[in-house]
Amino acid sequence: MSLYHTAQNIEASALGQTIRESTWLFPAIESTHLLALALLGGSILIMSLSILGWGLRTPVAELYKSAHRYSNAAVIVLLITGVLLGVSEPVKLYGREAFWVKMISLSIALLVTYFVFNPLVRRGASGASMRGVTVLTIAAWLTVAMAGRWIGFS
């Protein structure tokens, strides 16, 4: 079965239909997606700014103790709401280049955040390479957000 067929099946699913046919569900999920985006931005930025020397002077490993709860919560809400949004219009998404850009950059952002950025922050890493990782992490998430918004335009 091709990927396009799968998209058609998801589109025909009860969940997909319910979200698509409701007036309020899609906007409500979309708004929650945006609120979580803000939370993700804040929690990653508060650590990043400190690493880059433009923010708090508290050791970043200490900031991580509070910030990682919010970035984790935000990522979970973003993934759940994102899947729900996707389930309601998978055939449209299949044909959108921006969607695939978003999925690829999302994979990169998740890998970089959870396998590189977070472990380094937890260890209190600093220096040029840590700043590089930080810039890469922010760039990856910005690409995800930009591509996500672009799905609506293309």
């Binding site: 007036t23 906007p27 979309e30 708004s31 945006l34 609120l35 985006l37 803000a38 939370l39 993700l40 931005g41 804040g42 929690s43 930025l45 508060i46 700014l49 433009w54 923010g55 708090l56 002077r57 508290t58 200490e62 900031l63 509070s66 910030a67 709860r69 919010y70 998430w141 910005l142 957000a145 930009m146 918004r149 672009w150 335009f153």
Partner: protein
Amino acid sequence: MLGELVTKLADTPWSIALHESLYMYAITESTHVLSIMLFVGTIAMVDLRLLGISFTKVPVSQMLSKILPWTIAGFVLLVITGSMLFLAIPIRTYHSIWFRLKCTMILIAAINIAVFTFKVERDKAAWDLGPVPRKSKICAVISLSAWACVIVFGRLIAYNWFDCDSITSPTMAELTGCPLDPG
């Protein structure tokens, strides 16, 4: 009077150019959304500190002096891109109930910031690292709720449920400034 102003605004070449341009409008709106991460994201972190539930090892004074400049930078970006988005679609946005609610919430958030700046944080040296007072928590809750509403109402502007052509109740006509269609 404001109604006339937005009608004039809609006829300006700037408005038409923004409205007609596919890329400029899309880039402006994307920048607006991305700036939310900077603005609401950072203010939310400050609010969580002011609630006393997170970043408790960071002095309140440092949270305000080091993070709020970024919040302000985000706000500047949002106001510039937001004004451009309004300029692109002035009449519809002016009548949008969501836009009006969004502006109301921004006003509430602004008053809250004024109260925090001129009253609440005055004696912050006394609770820089200690337990935060109730007044600080109240400001934080108002801030978090108001900005969350601003995001949600802002997103809903895109939906046409209450556009002028679908308004039938006198109350909604009053609230949106739309002419009530007798037909």
